[in-house]
Amino acid sequence: MAGKQMEMTGAEIVLQALKDNGVEHIFGYPGGAVLPIYDELHQQDAIEHILVRHEQGAGHMAEGYARSTGKPGVVLVTSGPGATNVVTALQDALMDSIPLVCITGQVPTSLIGSDAFQECDTVGITRPCTKHNWLVKDVNELSRVIHEAFRIATTGRPGPVVVDIPKDVQFATGTYMPPSPVIEQKSYQPKLSGDLEKIRAAIDLMASAKCPVIYSGGGVINSGREASQLLRELVELTGFPITSTLMGLGAYPASGKNWLGMLGMHGTYEANMAMHDCDVMICIGARFDDRITGRLNAFSPNSKRIHIDIDPSSINKNVHTDIGILGDVGHVLEDMVRLWRASKKTDRSQLADWWTQIAKWKARNSLAYPENKDVIMPQYAIQRLYELTKDRDTFITTEVGQHQMWAAQFYGFEEPNRWMTSGGLGTMGYGFPAAIGVQVAHRDSLVIDIAGDASIQMCIQEMSCAVQYELPVKIFILNNQYMGMVRQWQQLLHGNRLSHSYTESMPDFVVLAEAYGGVGIRCDKPGDLDEAITRMIDTPRPVIFDCRVAALANCFPMIPSGKAHNEMLLPDEATDEAVANAIDAKGKALV
């Protein structure tokens, strides 16, 4: 029931405002400066609070929740260390455009600036890692600010926001105002519809293309399910090949006939070659990140580029765009599909040569890896996981590293919002709490965190949270005892000197799972894998699956830093010598 205008305390206002913005779950950790809000939480049951074990976990859980539902994730933490611990998750959400509303407690207004216990300049610290933030010093402003916070987090290019509330404001009595249907804010007005003239020009350019490629990104997912549907229609209508960034997987189905696979540093040969050789590139809700473009002055040298994005600063930032269309992907795609239907007949023969060329690149089989009967190859593990879970209601999250790239390469995503990974910030420790957030929103679904042995230890404490709330999250660890991607770069850049990328002391993950009250499964033989994965799926409790894989496998294909799309290192060419010499002195300085 929507709240009415009435007098209440600041803490009551917070709860009422959350309810009026449709919040059902929040992730948080109590502390001195948020006790009044926790006291209110205790006296209601409309909102379920998930108690985390570290505030970073709360942030990533809210991200997983948001990405799998399309709704904002809500975090509640205390002042000082509570706020600073959540900073990593805020920056992660900022870079991946995930809507989060983070409420932080603050010391009473009379103590602000006095270096009080658990005081920090929360709005100062979080200013560069949020879309916007507020310090609310007047209880009468509180409801308006929280409503505004939800609007800003979820509209335009979504992102994290912080509302910092001093403890005395939580106790003070003021007027609650319900959300207003009229937007009072004048300065922030994101533009949704694209310029029709530009869309027409884009359609004309697309119709003239002989070697087109669609390059889609996380913006399609963020725009909502209809946007993914429209993208599929556009691909169907035009017959164009499509590739996607890490963030955009699932918007177009991996089983679709026009699918080239992911592009970029560990993308497929056909996707990257198509990007390099295309004559028209249609970038939809992606941002020409350095993982995508490779060497900029060799990026797609002969193409005209169309870029659809809701954020004007993304257009023409790294790569020159010929037609930049500012607007929401869903709105623009709707116009594009309509105009294409009305005016263009696709001449498939015009693209025949292009598809022939793409078939040749595909035949290169760039994701090939050596088979092994004795040791589990990590790629094989993901393939088996995919085969055994694809017909279920499955959500996949990942940590960051080799396992993440293998998951992106070998797990086929058919639908949007099913794939949660830290793309922009590359946060080790993201995947497990994100999976918990997904499971909170989808209690009966199968939620799997594909993890590495190093990453999983960064937020492993949330096992305690998963067990407490009976969230049957599965952690599937590709355990090679290395920080695999770090080691791969050391082999590429630093003469195979493996400085601190080997973990000499590893916990026994099976015993660890049991210590937390979960279930541990270990598998180290390819022949046992299917049975063990099935056992994991059938276990209705949190599981840590310790999958012992080939220790020295590397992730290919790869565009070495400083190289172009057509200078990929392919798996069958990646000998020790080729790896050692892949990156020149100039490329070594790059990240």
């Binding site: 300065s187 004007p312 600063s313 400083g562």
Partner: protein, 190 residues
């Protein structure tokens, strides 16, 4: 040149920058709320943009609006980025590149003025000379005793800098400058 000694950085700097940097004056209309200036300055420092001059004050009290005038030097691409990035800040209402706008209006450049307070101390001929030059530059004496003057001077940046340089040998003690206030010619608003 040894490749290892070339400047390092992110992938963005691999392509040699061929465009020339230009100096532009931006007017930014913002909600006058706490932290808004920190957001603007943080954007410039965080993304590595230059600030050559920055002036800020509330201009419309009723509407709670402040106007920030920023002079920055960057290549045309980066200038476009700066404008887009500023527009992303939630309390920013409008960003106008006055330099671009004045060219569109057919003017050479926007009107730019700065105010400076300049303290000069000395005796004898230097003191007489300082007063004579101040008169030539139309600088006002706003405070004086037998040992010093404080001049108030308003004008283009070049004029102020010239005035400061000629005061230097005459006993210059202290300088305070406001930064640039700027506006375009003609009847239209920003």
């Amino acid at each position: 040149m040894n490749a290892q000694h070339q400047p390092t950085g992110s992938a963005y700097f691999i392509a040699a920058e061929t465009a020339r940097p230009e100096s532009h004056t931006l007017s930014v209309l913002v909600d006058n709320e706490p932290g808004v200036l920190a957001r603007v300055i943080g954007l410039f420092s965080g993304r590595g943009y230059n600030i050559e001059s920055l002036t800020v004050s509330e201009t419309e009290h009723e509407a709670h609006l402040s106007r920030i005038t920023i002079v920055t030097t960057a290549t045309p691409n980066v200038l476009e980025q700066i404008k887009s990035q500023l527009e992303r800040i939630v309390p920013v209402h409008r960003v106008v590149d006055l330099t671009v706008r004045s060219a569109e209006l057919g003017h050479e450049k926007p009107l730019e003025r700065e105010l400076a307070l300049i303290k000069v101390s000395g005796a004898g001929d230097d003191r007489v000379e300082a007063l004579r030059l101040a008169d030539a530059f139309r600088a006002q004496v706003i405070d004086a005793n037998t040992e010093h003057f404080i001049f108030e001077i308003t004008g283009r940046v070049s004029k102020i800098e010239q005035f400061i340089s000629i005061m230097r040998p005459l006993g210059l003690v202290e300088i305070c400058r406001t930064g640039i206030a700027a506006m375009n010619r003609g009847s239209q608003g920003m």
